[in-house]
Symmetry: C3
Subunit: 291 residues, 3 copies
């Protein structure tokens, strides 16, 4: 008899995310075990409880989802969790703290619908944040040249080094974009811009954007006005604005949600998946290609 | 495909109520998400997680139940939750902190089986507490004259003002009942008395009650001896005692439970219900009339 | 209509055990209500919530599982929980904090497959710990003579007194085994040895074990190397080693898991079970006999 599907939700926040819980239910899990305020030091006992209960042949029906608002905390929980596994004694695990992986995947997939990433050059605004770093990783792995922008040139350089350590041969340029003229220079010649900044901060004005003749796709991941890219509406989904295809946060939200759901379902097919940025992007690519 | 029914239990206590959880399961929800130690300042993120996950056509399958022992804390959670909603982006929500709404509804419905509320005058003992205030509201809205009794005349006056602000034209009289003779005066001429006091405190002696010739219905909501009304047994359910129809806490408990269950089921019929005292009473009236 | 099976997991730890949760799901409960950081002073309200919600005819579909790493804390939760029940107003409850009851039952059952307990004499190493005490209790109740060993003779004596208070006529001898020669003396003449010590501490060397000609069964409940009995492998399951039948922690783990699952299922057959060491052992015996 098939064992019920159990998803363990490990969340670093004081309350486990309801959003993540509802998506899990809609991904047809049978039982959700919610854990909040989870510290890295507590992960071992929790993960042992998940991996030592069912027999190896049933372990694909137990999986772990790591969430919470703090992405680096989530990364720490993921490292600790995967460090507990050995041999066939493991369960599949997915990281999507703050929705960073599914959001980055949806943003890059949106761009990939309109341009060939391997032939493109992209500017990632707020490229040093948790979502931005993942956008940079995914673009670089697809062969896209990436300008990694931050208010701080030092932080941009650090991110470039971190991504190069993960993506061999990544073509990255760190840039400071602390004012409009620096942003204009950073934008010059790229065909993709993705804004991954904090809510309510405009990173690229409508004027600067309109002045860039090379631009083909603009994706803004900020859902709270003022938005990150002037002139892009939060609900834009492949809306053309003077020759530029625009996406807003809600415009990529449908894709993000489909990826999240598909990734959760995939967790229960085998017991050895670790779904982080790249794996989740690949799930999105399969969805886009209809495979 | 119909989405599973998800009930989010927001509870201000250190442990979420098992009572509320069991009733939810028996109301045939599919998944219960329990949250404990919920503060008003945390409600926005939680409610956003519930309202921004499923599409508008599926939002009636997600609902929120607000519980916990502290009724005013629950009211605060309800205000914050409903303040998050806009347009069609909302989920149905029910408040029954400390069982106050379902208890008050069951008590007033018990009385309404035997007398015409619009032609009645009622005394509500401990009418300033969370259950008492709701009993006063429900009686007043049904056209009943209500004497609102408290040990403190000032508190009784405050409650009367609060209820008048909610129920236009409410016919209310504040009264102090700090001793037996004041209670006898307060009772004189009413046909309904409802005791909504704390556990283990007698608010009305058997002698005073027996001396009141106008009385037709006595409802005592205290389940822990000594009971609130002398001579009423906790299991009394329409038991006649010298011409007075008596109900004890367990005697109204069956009705309370049916209302609670019916209200939870109703939450999942549409996505825009806010079930507080009046709406929950109305659900009870529909149950009584068999509609 | 049959009510869904609700298991309330009361756990004293900061996070409720995932192990216990997964076993509960696989025992075919419908809804699991997880409570963590449960203090004895909070049990009354929680248990009242479980026992006062459904009617007496449905109470067998609600049950309580008490877990957590601290066995004496779990015992305290059990005492408080059972103290809340009266008359038919009760739900079935099982204690298996730290797996102590199911582990002790599996260990004693393993020995009982190979020797007649009523004709045996056993040495229980670390017999004063939570698992060890239960092993002593179960052996004594089966008519086995038991030598209760601890590094401290005083603690061993205390455990003997406690077990005698529970098992009338128990034949117990307290012993100090603080070094190899004391352990050799303690082992001399017994046919069963069960090591119930903490992880990573060898309680009986391979040499001392091999020198004991009377020994027939050795059970080691420590799963983390160095194991408790030299020469016994953690996966040993009735493996013969120079005439001694050996069991390691994983070797008794399958039986432990079957007992745990069967005990959970039994909880939902009636509403008045209290499953502690003896009752859980009896469930194991029924499983072994195929009844």
């Amino acid at each position: 008899m098939t064992k019920p599907k159990i998803l363990v939700q490990l969340d670093g926040d004081e309350h486990a995310s309801i959003f993540d819980a509802v998506v899990a239910v809609d991904a047809e899990i049978d039982h959700l075990l919610q854990y909040h305020s989870v510290e890295a030091g507590q992960v071992r006992d929790l993960v042992h409880g998940a991996m030592f209960t069912r027999g190896p042949q049933d372990l694909h029906n137990t999986a772990i989802f790591i969430g919470g608002a703090n992405v680096s905390h989530g990364e720490s929980l993921l490292r600790t969790a995967t460090g507990c596994f050995f041999g066939p004694m493991r369960v599949s695990v997915m990281l999507d703290a703050n929705g960073a992986n599914t959001t980055a995947a949806a943003a890059v997939l949106a761009a990939a619908r309109h341009v060939d990433l391997a032939q493109s050059e992209a500017l990632v605004l707020a490229g040093t944040g948790p979502v931005g770093q993942r956008v940079v990783r995914l673009l670089a792995r697809a062969g896209c040249k990436v300008r990694v922008a931050s208010r701080s040139a030092d932080r941009a350089s650090v991110t470039c080094e971190q991504v190069r350590a993960i993506v061999a041969g990544a073509m990255l340029t760190p840039l400071a974009t602390s004012n409009a003229s620096e942003t204009a220079v950073a934008l010059d010649g790229v065909n993709i811009v993705i804004a991954a900044g904090a809510a309510g901060i405009e990173l690229l004005s409508a004027e600067t954007r309109a002045a860039c003749s090379s631009l083909r796709v603009a994706v803004d991941l900020n859902a709270v006005p003022p938005l990150g890219i002037g002139g892009v509406a939060v609900t834009d989904k492949a809306v053309e604005l003077a020759g530029v295809i625009c996406y807003g946060a809600i415009g990529v939200g449908g894709t993000k949600m489909k990826i999240h759901t598909a990734a959760l379902k995939k967790l229960f097919t085998v017991n050895n998946l670790v779904l982080d940025a790249e794996e989740i992007y690949e799930i999105g690519r399969e969805l886009e290609s209809g495979s």
